[in-house]
Symmetry: D2
Subunit: 285 residues, 4 copies
């Protein structure tokens, strides 16, 4: 497998950005594999993701951050991140009782389709320990009560640090994380909300959808912010429903769209194809 | 073309409804063409649409209402309506400036695909008079100001009565009708709202969608009630969008989903396939 | 959980079918839960599925077949089947190497979403034995060579009989069953084909799709007949692709639509909502 | 409105293409508005579309072709085309009897949504002359018989030349053009086929779809080549159908997907976002 460098950039729109970046890579003998860019004219902001093969590249990986910063990023006022495909991100999964999203992620992981490590699963219930055991992944049951949320969060954070977690997936976790927790993983906590946001934010969206009589239900994969269900949206999808559907059948049908949307959002994150700007995402090709 | 009778029913759920209704039709020598039924167990309510060929039917059309009422509907506490396919409904179209929904309806009408009469088009602007002229349909321009809404509504109502209008389609009319107007056409005014309700109710939904950073936009065809954008939903659909989209491109892409959703909602209404119960619709097959 | 009776019928179109069937159920004190019917006017054929609560029903389950046959089915020339919801069907899964469809089925099964027993999994490869072990389901590896297909099929049939299998799901099994095998399970073997049939029947559909430059790929869940990839279609779906996709990315994206389509087809079969007539399916509501 | 230059390129994959092209534009003071590129690794071929503002650009439009050819295209073995947004393409529409695609195109045109001129409509039937009159577009009725196809084509070609037609849209024209005709407009004749190709190529696809019992029908917008229904696909879409659908209802439902797919394909062509390579299309963002 190729070792590649991936740069994600945003900066004020200006002439010569693509030329400068691609020239930098070419001059140092890098072979560009993917390049996708976007200009937001209303915001006068430029966004780009470029990935190139490091085989034969003239700058050593450990010097790349500084070299690019000085040569390109600083002069062009770029906000940017550098990743290497050789860095496999470590993903924690938080769950409650529903298994569909967890199974979908673990089935992909098990088939080698998610380029990720899953060092642990954390839950406030025991229900899914058996699933974790099936896949030989450590499972931590931290029971939540009205009073112990701070202690549970402290332990969750400790575990995430101990297991060197890079990002967290809330796979129908059904609990709200504190602002302090969120602040530790900015744009690195992915939640699946079981409605097409902003419709039916909050609890019991399928009850609300049934009550309103909508003709489609959906799911939204988004980064978690301190504003509940209002974080940057990564992926959304819907399915058609009808008057035949009960709340129970909506819950059941919704599972399919939830798990697909969450897995696609997680895949985009793992592939370093997401970029957040002003509470919205760019999803690169 | 066949002359058929169409009955739409709802009543308390109870044994024998389908048997009683179908037996009534069979006994009088009616040939059932379509039958669709639904039971809402939470509401303990039964819904049915049945359509049969009147050729050879033993009860004269003008006696059918009373005969069925006495024999079946009253004993089973039915709320029901009777229509004949020979009654071509008369549809008024209200528009403002955008032509896409109007053209889509008129193109279908012109091709003989909508079994409807369109006696008039009413607008608060002159822009689409030319479109009405293309299809030889009377166009009434009633200019709206801050102060003349009651007079304009009075004239709209007078025109609808004069032209014997059965139902009204708000084809991006962009004005709110008064509760009094709505009350004259209960479940007989169809609006297209340019979002997947309940998300982005109210004005400028594409601006709101762009601002929120959603990954899909939609449209909702619904019956108008006095509660703005909260009436019974007939049809909804969405299309995928991306970070490349501007407010302007959302407006443009949205037109396609708006016109398709509205035309499908209008088609369902014309075919007498809709039934409203407690602010939700049953859409029969 | 309710014990219900489910009848699926087709017969020549004629007056009084719905009335006769529903009257039969009502007269014997049965409460109809679901009823869906369809008339194919070109074929002059009537189709119906009706499900009713057996609680308080006046005919004993073991007498129902004969009573309905004499009273209704024979006079109306019905081809029909009777099932009871208390009969949990037993499903064998045949796999080769790809795990996505198997995991999707087993995750649903494990969550109690599929009302089915899965007594065994059969494969021509060892790859997925580990998955079967995760879910504690017996796994039989029957290695296929050029020469031993008859022996392998004999053993497959023996196992299916021993384990009292009602129907078989080919979850990307990638092998063709003999006509003799198919004849043992008519309309009871479900295959997932990785294209929107009839496009790209046969081997390597993603290669063919890539070569043709289509803009969408799909999957087809169908009953297996002796005519390869030509059996009655139960369910189909597609996803959009683009020029960016390689054969490899089509294979990967295709997995998502394959597993969803197969699971929906299996669900419809388990719920006794499918009916085959002249190589086409009726899928009841 | 901005005057922009649009370049579409394909060439052997090699280092420095993006850098060279973007540097060329920047050096001559061009502001890049859109850039999208794609590398086909299997074909080792690079594709790019770049659009920039000509305001302040240092090279005069009439010298741009030669300057870019010598500086960039020849050294990099590019096959490329140059367009200016100020060149409004001239589109002929060929129709037979069905009005839905024609109305959809003309409604968009009339609303100013298609940046195109429509100098004439050609048909082998008189049916749609009235539609052309509604929009004040010259309509030429050239009646086709078994024997006069060469003469009719000669007259069609003469008209297209006289009216300076750049490309042709077959909006359900239902006739096969000769190879000689096609050769005059390579990748400049767009057809809508009423199936998801390659399924149901040829005549009567809805009859074939109904007969096969598929659960979705579709439409394909493609460039016409001498190989019937096998040209490069620009756009495809599908809609769900069911056992309730007759051939007639498929024809009716299919109209909606046909007109949407054709209009999107035409829009992509007008925006110079299509590029054909080896019978497949790149559709740029």
């Amino acid at each position: 497998m190729q070792n590649t460098a991936i740069i994600r950039i945003h900066c004020p729109d200006q002439r010569g950005i693509v030329a400068n970046v691609t020239d930098f890579i070419n001059r140092h003998n890098g072979n560009i594999l993917y390049l996708d860019q976007h200009t937001d004219r209303a915001e006068e902001r430029f966004f780009m993701r470029v990935e190139w093969d490091l085989d034969g590249f003239a700058i050593a990986p450990e010097k790349l951050q500084q070299t690019f910063e000085e040569a390109i990023a600083t002069p062009m006022q770029m906000v940017w991140t550098l990743n290497f495909s050789s860095q496999i991100p470590r993903m924690a999964i938080f769950v409650s009782r529903a298994s569909h999203c967890l199974y979908d992620l673990l089935a992909r992981y098990s088939a080698g389709e998610l380029n990720v490590e899953i060092p642990l699963i954390i839950s406030n219930h025991k229900d899914l320990e058996q699933v974790a055991n099936q896949f030989d992944i450590p499972y931590f049951h931290l029971s939540l009560t009205k009073d112990n949320k701070p202690e549970v969060e402290a332990e969750q954070i400790r575990l995430c640090k101990e297991y060197k977690v890079d990002f967290i997936v809330l796979a129908r976790y059904m609990q709200i994380l504190s602002s302090e927790f969120n602040a530790l993983y900015p744009n690195r906590i992915i939640n699946i909300h079981h409605s097409f946001l902003p419709a039916f934010a909050g609890a019991k969206p399928y009850h609300a959808a049934h009550s309103r009589g909508v003709k489609l239900i959906g799911a939204t994969g988004h980064y978690v912010t301190s504003d509940l269900d209002a974080g940057p949206i990564i992926e959304q999808d819907v399915i058609k429903i009808s008057h035949h559907d009960t709340v129970q059948s909506l819950v059941q049908k919704g599972k399919d769209v939830e798990k697909m949307v969450l897995s696609r959002a997680v895949q985009a994150h793992i592939d370093r194809k997401t970029l957040v700007y002003k509470n919205k995402t760019i999803i690169f090709a």
